[in-house]
Amino acid sequence: MRLKFAVVILLQILLLIGIIGYRAYWVATGEHILLQSAPVDPRDLFRGDYVTLAYDLSTIDLDRAGIRGDIRRNDRIYTVLQKAGDGTYRMASVGNTVPVGGKFLQGRVTRVNERATRFEVTIREDGAGDRTFEPRWFSFHEGERVILCLDRGGRVQASLREKEDARCRSGEAVAGTVTAVKKISFRQAAVEYGIEHFFLEEGKGKAMERARNARDLRVEVALREDGRGLITGLFLDGRRIP
């Protein structure tokens, strides 16, 4: 009896050590890459503080990616990655079959929006040529004067009617006349890669949230050959978070 009890408890210990070993093997054999990220949400009572990390690759335009056919929740998605100038990896292409060669992340569709919309807006800048932007939402018409507020990545954060006191709170501002507005409807998929949660000590979630707006949060991921990733570290302003 005593021996059997010891064996059963040993089994529990081995299972726990197995989880640690599994992770260690993954980290040791996987390739380490950096992804640019933005945390979203605050806390979970059971697990203490943690941040939910969103990536550019978390929402996918299925039409633009050229993925035809029926895409549903829980379908697999493969996102091929390419190294950008700043050392982080960005989405190069997306597909629903395993890519041949190259680095890629394997994800799972969590939600499909068949009728998502985006806008394609062309602005004639004062003293410059036309520039095209893709804001999430745009309520102005052709011929109107507007100011677009851009974030570091060149994405439109807000669009304002040009007035004397209208100015962007941060980032680059583009002022000009709207020359074309196109509303495009497309199929969008939300994708989860298993690298969306990072656990923190109590109270650190808020600091992460502020970092999201500044967009200087990078995630180090140990990438396996089958495209599964595991977070090994978080870098805020280039410094590793313990």
């Binding site: 009896m1 005593r2 210990i13 726990l16 989880i19 829980n74 990072f198 109590e202």
Partner: protein, 405 residues
């Protein structure tokens, strides 16, 4: 927990047996009285010093509190505790509670009940360990694996020590896993009826697994948690389908591995029940009804015909309501035939829930609000008194009949 030598089940069996011994001339009336007196004496001690059950309850509550405390301690001091210390705390707490529990219960034998609770605490800490390790190393790859590892990791312990509490914990973890894992397979998040049907069929299979354990002595002690979890899953799921779900399908091909697994589990459990199960009155009816219903529902779920839940005569919703009412009636009858207070109690709870739900369905629009609540309250109060008296009478009759010479 292991069977208490002086608990009610044992006493009931003893009285039954003694009647037979007396009839066979092995036991005189006087000896019978003396044996009964002995147990009355123990009853009295328990009344004065607190029952074994009470000690058990208190120490189980203590275990849960300590478990939660350890979790909170680690969570609150997340940054101050280095990674290896966190792991050290987890492993040390796990080993200590299992070790001390075992020592108290089986080696020293001085605090068997507290020892048992400490082993339950160890099983809780093992689960906590899984989640904390996942947290320390940011492992969020496939999170249903957490409850799965928890449930499977403590199952051998439940069988080795015949602990009902550990088995119950394991079954709860595994039912949690079932729902989480199923949600990874269902493509339409708003189509929840297949998941409800999955729980319903799984519940019945677990219930039959409980029947399979009712045979010879060592496994009999473990049938309780299976039956309890199976009953609750079955009736809770069936109850949800008595409402207007406005959905088309009972199942989805995406859950096919689950249906097959449930059918295999059912077949194995039914086979063991037939070969080794209890031979109390009514076991055939119970097994046949459960098997038919599980196989039938699995078949419907696999072929998943349209279930338009609109109005109309013999709509699926009406059928589910009739089935549920018949199920409650059947459960209470079974409880009476097989002398299972648990069946009667759970049957009555769901009977009351059903009455309330149907009352709201039918009269919410017809009656003025105030009258609705007053009338409903009166019906419930009167019904509650009636049911309570009936329930007591039925449960007492189990005892009385055994006391007849």
């Amino acid at each position: 927990m292991t069977q208490d030598p002086i608990d009610a089940t044992f006493q009931r069996k003893l009285r039954q047996e003694m009647k037979q011994w007396q009839a066979d001339g092995l036991l005189s009336e006087e000896q019978r009285e003396r044996i009964l007196e002995r147990y009355r004496h123990i009853d009295e001690i328990e009344r004065k010093a607190g029952s074994g059950r009470m000690i058990q309850t208190i120490s189980i509550l203590g275990s849960i509190l300590v478990g939660v405390g350890v979790l909170l301690f680690i969570a609150a001091n997340w940054s101050e505790i280095p990674r290896f210390a966190k792991l050290g705390i987890i492993f040390a707490a796990l080993l200590a509670s299992h070790g001390i529990g075992y020592w108290m219960r089986y080696e020293k034998k001085n605090y068997p009940r507290v020892g048992a609770s400490l082993i339950l605490l160890g099983s809780i800490l093992y689960g906590a360990g899984i989640f904390l390790i996942a947290q320390i190393y940011n492992i969020t790859v496939h999170y249903p694996n957490g409850p799965l590892l928890w449930g499977l990791g403590i199952l051998p312990l439940a069988y080795l020590l015949r602990f009902r509490s550990v088995l119950l914990l394991s079954l709860l973890a595994l039912s949690l896993w079932l729902g989480m894992e199923a949600s990874f397979h269902v493509s339409d998040l708003f189509q929840y009826v297949p998941v409800i049907v999955l729980y319903w069929t799984a519940g019945m299979a677990v219930w039959v697994l409980g029947l399979a354990h009712e045979g010879p002595a060592p496994s009999r002690e473990l049938s309780g948690p299976y039956v309890l979890v199976g009953l609750l899953m079955t009736y809770a799921a069936a109850f949800l389908l008595t409402f207007d779900t406005r959905q088309e399908n009972l199942g989805t091909p995406e859950l096919m591995p689950f249906y097959l697994g449930i059918l295999v589990l059912l077949a194995a459990a039914a086979a063991v029940t037939i070969l080794k199960g209890s031979r109390d009155a009514g076991w055939r009816v119970e097994l046949a009804a459960l098997s038919t219903l599980t196989v039938g529902l699995c078949f419907l779920a696999m072929t998943s015909p349209g279930v338009a839940t609109g109005p109309g005569f013999l709509s699926p919703r009406l059928l589910f309501n009739l089935l549920f009412a018949a199920g409650i009636l059947g459960l209470i009858c079974l409880g009476y035939i097989r002398r299972r207070p648990l069946y009667i109690n759970i049957g009555l709870v769901f009977f009351v829930l059903d009455v309330v739900a149907r009352y709201v369905d039918f009269f919410w629009k017809l009656l003025p609000r105030s009258l609705f609540f007053i009338a409903g309250g009166c019906i419930l109060l009167a019904g509650g008194i009636y049911l309570e008296r009936k329930r007591r009478a039925v449960l007492e009759s189990f005892q009385v009949r055994e006391d007849l010479p």
